[in-house]
């Protein structure tokens, strides 16, 4: 059916849901300043919106204690008059970001200083997927959604289960999760996410040219990706965390009913409640 509305929605319209890492503990100790990072990212958003009139961007800020939507390009309340040296949409975003950071600080008053707290990746992924589901249900004509995680802080193994659940639901809705990881070591969660959902995981070696990396690797819509040779992942760390202690493990026990992972022998599975029998070797001895 080639009716007029369908002509507007071509194959390459994309909805990009960005999960922006605003972990203050990470950014305060990182070599690349947050202000430069934000400027690269804002320019990247602008270029995405320039690619097609129907492209949409939604930005979710990922803090230590909460996550929140800070920008939606399709909403009408994008007019701010305090623009000095930058377009209106940027200032709106930054305004919301400031408010979010203040709120996050309020929530995290009881945090003890120590190792870098991890940002709530699972929370922002879930929020992204909810938004995408709403878009799916809005009608037959919708852009093709994908998720981009701009992450720097390390993984929190305690979020393993939630992150894996989010990844599997993304896989089921065929939403690719791309990850641009800025931190020092590779993030196992994001590698797995991109591997399972068919997205791209890339760790830019040179952060000065972050905008260049973003626009070369992550800007193309899903339809056009078939024609591009994007960087392949060099290795996926498939290690899981155990469900009892939330530590990363290489070898462990797996419940045969619900596939939950444990690092030591248990009598009963804590997820599904099935009772484990005695192992064969123990019986023979």
């Amino acid at each position: 059916m080639t009716s007029a509305p369908s002509k507007l929605y071509a194959d390459d319209v994309s909805l990009l849901v960005v999960s922006l890492d605003t972990n203050p503990f990470f950014w305060s100790t990182f070599s690349f300043p947050f202000s430069e990072f934000i400027s690269h990212v804002l320019a990247f958003f602008n270029s995405i919106l320039l690619l097609s009139q129907l492209n949409q961007i939604v930005v979710i800020a990922t803090g230590c204690n909460s996550c929140s939507y800070i920008y939606d390009s399709s909403s009408d309340s994008n007019h701010s008059s305090e623009a000095v040296g930058m377009p209106a949409l940027y200032s709106n975003l930054l305004q919301k970001l400031e408010e979010f950071v203040a709120k996050d600080e309020q929530l995290g008053k009881a945090q003890t200083p120590g190792a870098i707290a991890s940002s709530l990746l699972s929370g922002s992924l879930s929020m992204a997927l909810c938004y995408i589901q709403r878009i799916f249900r809005s009608g037959p004509l919708h852009p093709q959604p994908r998720i981009l995680c701009l992450q720097g802080s390390p993984d929190g193994p305690e979020q393993y289960v939630a992150v894996m659940n989010a990844i599997f639901s993304a896989q089921r809705s065929t939403v690719p999760i791309d990850s641009c990881f800025i931190g020092s070591n590779n993030s196992a969660f994001l590698q797995q996410a991109s591997y399972i959902t068919g997205g791209i995981y890339y760790r830019p070696p040179q952060l000065d040219g972050l905008f260049q990396y973003l626009s070369m690797v992550f800007a193309t819509d899903l339809h056009s990706r078939a024609f591009l040779r994007l960087p392949k992942s060099v290795g996926v760390d498939f290690r899981a965390s155990c469900f009892c202690h939330k530590q990363t493990i290489d070898m462990g026990y797996v419940c045969s009913v619900c596939l939950s992972i444990f690092c030591e022998h248990h009598q009963k599975c804590s997820t599904c409640g099935s009772v484990f029998g005695q192992s064969q070797s123990a019986a023979n001895l």
Binding site: M1, F26, S28, F34, S184, D208, V217, V236
Partner: protein, 587 residues
Amino acid sequence: MSTGQVIKRAKYKTSLKDPGTDGVLKLTEEKLFFRPNDPTSNMKLEVDFKSIQSHRNTKEGSNKPPWLNLGHSQGNYIFELASYPDLNVCREFVGIALSRNKSGEAPPAISGEQLSPAEMELRIKLLREDSKLQKLHRELVASGKLTESEFWATRKKLLDKDESRKLKQRVGFKNSMIFDTKPMSDGRTNQVTFSLTPEIKNQIFALKPAVHQAFLNFVPSKMTEKDFWTKYFRAEYLHSTKNAVAAAAEAAEDEELAVFLKDDEILEKESRKKVRRVDPTLDMEADQGDDYTHLPDHGIFRDGSKEVSEAQHQLCRRTLLQDLNRQGAVVLEGRTLDSEMEHQRTVAEVLERTRHESDGDIEQERRNRISRMTQIEDLQEQGDHPFAPLCIKDPREYFDSQQANAVKTLDHSQAGMDQTRCNLSSEEAYGFLKVSISKIKTLGISDPLVSPEIASKVLAGLTKNISTSKYQYGKNSQESVLDILPNTTKEQLLDHWVCSQELLRHFWSSYPITTSNLNTKVNRLKDSISQMYSKLEEIKVSARSDMRHQVSLIVHPMQQVLDAALLHYDADKRKRNAKAQRLNGYA
């Protein structure tokens, strides 16, 4: 005796007094055949060894001629052989055959196993054909690491395959059919010669169904085959001359000849049926143009002239295009049966029958196709899948992606695993972040955002990365890491790999150890595995310095699997010893 049969010249005598008929005696494992040299004689014999009850023969030292006497329930078969050595050979063979039939099992072979000569022969043949298998066999069995039976136990599939693999393919029609079916003319004399083989007859029948029909109708009722073909080639010759008038004249005289000169009605009917079969709205291939017999002005005529014929000569004016089309269609359809049959008439009949049978199928197919085509895609509802479709990824991708992890563990270098600890309190950290945000609000975005040098470096890096990683890790389809190595090393590595695979297969299949037989086998295999391990170590050490890294990368997983096997052996042995000690302690 490794061959399965014996063929010797012999004379067959029905009784001792009979002078005997000359012929050839053939002995196979099941039967005995005798065929006399004179084809008109009816002394042919075909006897099953099961019916032979006894065999006797004349002694060599005596003055009697070499006779072999096979007794059966009704009497004797006496064969006089050419010489005593021949007699000995036959006697041996008969003895084996009879003993096998009596006892019902194969005679014992050298290796102590019950092997029939056929199986032995099959094994030898397999070894001869596959040099790799032969090498493996030599290395493992000859040096005593595996016994013969164990070696072949895992290769049952090879042994079971039928030896006499008939050629499943059927030879189709030649592509030069038109030329075969034309008579050749000798330019000097007025004679036209043609040669006719059954093959050519089949081709003519396939190309021209009207001729086929005529053959069935006229032969042998109205004329002999030879006459038929003479008339056919006369018609062909008339076609090839430019003389339409002469053709018409001859056709008027001889009505059978006229058949060959008319339009091929059967072809017309067939092509009309074909056009009907096609749904013109959806299948663009076939259209009215297929009914080419009714387009006389299409293409060059066979006799080279280009003008449209006069209406009065209603004779067949075939064009080159029509002939080529017809040949193409026939070649693609292929043969429906083997043309090994001797009697030409039966062949013709069978062909006719098969053609009728296929029509019914075609109708059915057409109906199916129409019922399927009525669902036009645009009018269908969108098939909304509630589940994401199964995505079966290429397994190679997984292993490629794991390569980096493997390399990491090999190099024993953990790149920067230390976590930076944050010494700021939460207030300080948040304050820092807020300062950054307000900074960018005031400054705006810098111009240029990315300096040109950095941008070009990034561009070069990304594009280079795509192309070089392929060559480094040997993912190019034409090249692999093994090709970089020198030939001898490559061969050695491959041989060792195949060998260790075989050893490991036998090793792991012997666990859990239940009998003492398995125990000895496992011990034997463990020794050979340790030998293999040291051989691999040697290769690794002796590699050239620039190849050393690649070689160690390749050898590493091989050694790992051998390690796992050895570890398991040790652990299992310890467990068994502990158990034995405990039992002894109690006893």
